[in-house]
Structure formats: C-alpha cells, structure tokens
C-alpha cells in the first residue's frame, strides 16, 4: 500500500488553484515535499491531513480518504507549519491534552507526553507556559505532539523553520532516526538543503502542480534534454576547456574567469567522466576542484521550475 495516492487531485479556492490535477503514488519511506512559498505544498498537506476537501479527484492516505475521517489520525501524526498554540498551557499540558484526544488515559497520556518531549529535547522547559517559549522551543513542542501517539506516518510541515543551527541539526537527526525506525515521514520545506539533509526522495511542487517525484538522481536522469553541468576549477582552464571541446561529448562551456572556474555542459555525463582523465593528461592541466552542480536538489528544482 502506498503512503499517498492521488488521481487527478484538484483543489480550488474560488478561482485560485491550490493543487492542480495531481496524479501520483507516494510509496512509504521518508519523503521531502519541496516548493517555493505559494507552490501548493500547504494546500497539498491540508488535503492529506483532511483539513480541506478535494474539489475534484481522489486522494487516499494509507489507503483511506482523509476528509472527515478522524480515525485515520490514529495512524497519522501532523506537525503544522503555523506557530499557533494554547499559550496558557505548558508544553507538557499541551502534548498531554492532544495525547488524551488520541484516546489515551491520563496516566498513559502523561507517560507518552514526557517521552515524546524528551525525544525532541524539550524536557527542560516542558513545565513552563508555552507563551514564554522561543520559536525553536515551540517548534520542538509541535513536533512532540505529532509523535505522542506513535503514528506510522508523520507529516511535518516546515519542521526546521525557526530553529537555530544546533536545533536544526538535532531536528534533522531526529527526523532521520524516526525514518530509520521504519516510520514514513513527509517533510515539507521551501529550503532545498533542509530536505536534502533528511532524504533524497522527494515530491516537487510548483504552481499547484506536482512537477516531479522520486529520487533526486532518478529525476536528474529524466531531464536528459537539459545538459548536465560540471564546474571545474583549474589554473589552465582555457587550455583544458579547449581540449575538452575537441574530444569529449560537450554541449557547451561557460568560462568564469573571475572565479578561476569554468562550467561544462554535457548531455552524456557518463562518457564525459570516463574520458576526462585522458584529456586532462593530454592538456597537462591540474584540476583542483570539480563539482557536479546539477547532481543536487537545487539544480533539479531550478530546472523543473524554469521548464514550466
């Protein structure tokens, strides 16, 4: 069974399109949901968490329709993006209240709340009123409430937003460890490296459409009409570029003299890498740095967005 399945899923807000005709199967595992602000990520998550009703099409989460299906939330945990709380409660009371709403008796809810808050590193301040928390503390508390009922599918909407560098690292580690436990996780973010730090599997949204889904490398492979970009730092840049153009399958070269680098564009990166050592030797050049720039999420994202 897939984590999420959609068929022609569309959500309209009046004349504004939130999600546009999305058909996809998202297998279990840790996935990133990427897209700039306004791309449709939040709408998609609101549909997945049953807060919104699809205008058209079909959507199932763990095989069940989420709209008006509260029982699904025994299996799903949701950490919303918004920085909203009952400020008059302590972190512990907040998490315990939501644990109680998940059906646990007071003693079990208290035990689970303590464990969940400890897991996100919020034990120290859990008996303080949430109204006094910093943004990072609130973020951890939000994640704790989504974990308290031990869901098999965790949806985290911008979980790293507002966290400091250490908090970010700890949260990233936490998400990774939750994934390793076999839990399925969908992490939304508009910051590419945040998601990349957690998973290489992702969905990419833009303009209400799901532009791509799968592994970052698979996606890159699908984009064969766009050349692969490799940036090379080399003192003998111009000479080496000349040799490369002559010998290897190259679509173009961009010189960045000011930075001491040049970028090679190729449709056949495999052949390029295979033939490169011989050409470098022939040119008598010494490469000090080589970065396959397109082989990261940022490049995939940029390409897919600009393509449409």
């Amino acid at each position: 069974m897939n984590l999420i399945e959609t068929r022609n899923l569309t959500k309209l807000y009046g004349a504004v399109i939130g999600v546009n005709d999305a058909t996809l199967d998202v297998p279990k595992g840790v996935r990133g949901l990427l897209g700039p602000n306004g791309a449709g990520k939040s709408t998609f998550l609101k549909l997945v968490t049953g807060q919104l009703k699809p205008t058209e099409g079909r959507l199932t989460v763990l095989g069940e329709r989420p709209w008006n299906n509260p029982e699904l939330f025994r299996r799903v945990g949701f950490c919303p993006e918004q920085d909203a709380f009952y400020g008059f409660l302590t972190g512990f009371e907040f998490v315990k209240t939501l644990a109680r709403l998940s059906g646990f008796d007071p003693a079990e809810a208290a035990r689970r709340s303590e464990a969940s808050l400890a897991r996100v590193g919020a034990t120290e301040y859990m008996h303080r009123k949430i109204g006094t928390y910093s943004r990072g503390m609130r973020q951890r508390t939000k994640v704790a409430q989504s974990l308290v009922h031990d869901p098999e599918f965790l949806i985290l909407d911008e979980p790293l937003s507002g966290t400091d560098p250490i908090g970010r690292r700890e949260m990233t580690d936490l998400i990774r460890s939750l994934g390793k436990e076999g839990r399925s996780i969908l992490v939304s973010s508009h910051v590419l490296h945040e998601v990349q730090a957690v998973t290489e599997e992702f969905l990419l949204m833009y303009g209400g459409r799901v532009l791509a889904s799968g592994n970052v490398h698979e996606i890159r492979g699908l984009m064969n009409e766009v050349p692969h970009r490799i940036t090379i730092r080399c003192r003998e840049g111009r000479a080496l570029a000349h040799h490369l153009m002559r010998v290897l399958p190259i679509a173009g070269i961009e010189m960045n003299d000011g930075q001491g680098t040049f970028s090679v564009l190729t449709h056949d990166p495999g052949s390029f890498y295979a033939g490169l050592p011989a050409v470098v030797a022939e040119a008598g050049a010494k490469i000090t740095e080589m970065v396959s720039q397109d082989d990261n999420l940022d490049a995939v994202f940029r390409y897919l967005v600009t393509r449409d």
Binding site: Y13, V16, G18, N37, G38, G40, K41, S42, T43, K46, T49, G50, Q51, L52, K53, N68, P70, E71, L72, F73, R74, V76, F78, P80, E81, Q82, A84, F85, Y86, F88, L89, T97, L98, R100, L101, S102, G103, Q145, G208
Partner: protein
C-alpha cells in the same frame, strides 16, 4: 470530549473576555439597586410579578442573550483565527464531538456565574417569590444560556464573517416575534423561557396576557427548549463536518 471541554474552560478563563463577563454580570446587579416596584402595586402577588418582569428582562432576555452572543458566536472562530483548530481536527475525534464539547463547556461556564449574579440581584430587589421564584429563574436562565449559545453557535458556523452582527439581529427579531400572538410567538425560544417563569411562579395573570407572555406548560416549555437546543447543536455539528476551516494562506 471531557478533554476538549476542559481545554475550552481553560481558554475561556484565560481570555481577556472574562472581564466582559464580569461586567455583564455586575451590571444587572447594579441596575437592581435602582429597582423599586411601582407604587400602585399593593399586593404581594403584584409585586412578585413586577420583580419577575424586571428580572426576566434583565437576565434571560438581555444578560443571557448577550453572554451567549459573545461566546457562542466565537465558539470556533477563536481557534480558527488562532489556528489551533488544526490540532483538534488532526486527532481521532469527530468534528461534531469537538463542537459539542466546546458548546457544553461554554454553556456550563456561563450558567454558573449568571445564576450567582441573579441571586445577588434577586436579594437586592427584596427576594420576592421565595424558592419558587428562584427555581423558575434558575430554569429559565439555564435554558436561555443553553438555547442562545446553541443558536449563536449555528449562526457562527453559517455566517463566519459577521456572526456577532447576525446574532444581534436575530436576538432583536426573536424578541419582537415572541410578542406576536398565536402561532408566531410559540416558535421562539423566548416564549418558552417566559412560560417557564410564569408556570413555576404560578403567576396570576389574565388569560389573554398569560397567552401573550407564555402559556405553555412547564413540561412543554422544557421539552420545546430541549428540542430546540438539540436541533441547533445537531445542525451546527453537521455543518462543521461539511466546512473547511483551513485557509488558503501559504498555499
């Protein structure tokens, strides 16, 4: 549902609006200080009727209605605007249960201090009518808060932009309709609230006047109010399951 009711109670007690409740409840007690039965009323019964009319207008007709308007019309709006509703709606609990628990907590939370305020006002106006008076008004005040909170909650669900204004218009129209004789008045909650007071106090009124004030039997009045409350809560609960409370922001 107890957890949601507890949460709602904490919310009500933690809000700045709590000062408004205190004001709403102190005001009728202060107004009662200015009450004096008309000099023409000689008998004890007439004085009781006069006090009953005064206190009915002050409590079930005004204070209960305004308090219910204040809280019933924002039963979900506070959570929608504060974006905390997401937490409640992403738990294995039906939306209508969330609503019903919040409604029960608000109604309960309003009834207790209103009865306290009424007791003070009743003592100030000379404690007329004894225990029957208190019982009649306790029933009527409880019924008023229960029915008006339910009605204003329904209005809040259907008119999410201006629930207070729509609620206020409803209150005025209902009050006017309750004095239209024959069937029209019997279709209002106010008519049954008045009937409860009239029956429990066993007011000696001319038949025509009693019919206008509220001639339904106690059982009929209580049942009618209970049915109206159940219908309003059910309607609001159903409407909430059909509504989307998430907005398009950050889509």
């Amino acid at each position: 549902m107890g957890t949601i009711a507890w949460l709602q109670l904490r919310q009500v007690l933690g809000e700045k609006k709590i000062f408004l409740i205190a004001l709403f409840l102190a005001l009728p007690a202060l107004l009662s200080l200015a009450y004096s039965p008309p000099a023409v009323l000689a008998g004890e019964s007439e004085k009781t009727i006069s006090a009953a009319i005064f206190l009915f207008l002050l409590y079930p007709q005004t204070t209960c209605l305004l308090l219910a308007l204040l809280y019933g019309s924002s039963i979900l709006n506070t959570e929608v605007e504060g974006k905390t509703l997401t937490y409640l709606f992403s738990r294995p609990i039906a939306k209508w249960k969330v609503f019903t628990a919040k409604y029960a907590a608000i109604a309960g939370c309003l009834v207790v201090p209103t009865l306290g305020s009424f007791l003070v006002s009743w003592a100030i106006v000379g404690a007329p009518g004894g225990a029957r008076f208190l019982l009649g008004f306790a029933l009527s005040i409880t019924g008023a808060i229960a029915i008006y909170t339910a009605v204003f909650s329904v209005i809040a669900v259907f008119f999410r932009k201006r629930p207070m204004i729509v609620g206020l218009i409803y209150g005025i129209i209902e009050f006017i309709l309750s004095f239209i004789p024959a069937l029209v008045s019997t279709m209002t909650a106010t008519y049954f609230l008045r009937s409860i007071v009239a029956r429990v106090l066993d007011l000696e009124l001319p038949t025509d006047l009693l019919r206008l004030v509220g001639a339904a039997s106690l059982a009929t009045s209580v049942l009618a109010l209970a049915a109206l409350i159940a219908a309003a809560v059910a309607l609001a609960g159903w409407a909430i399951t059909q509504e989307e409370f998430a907005s398009a922001d950050n889509a």
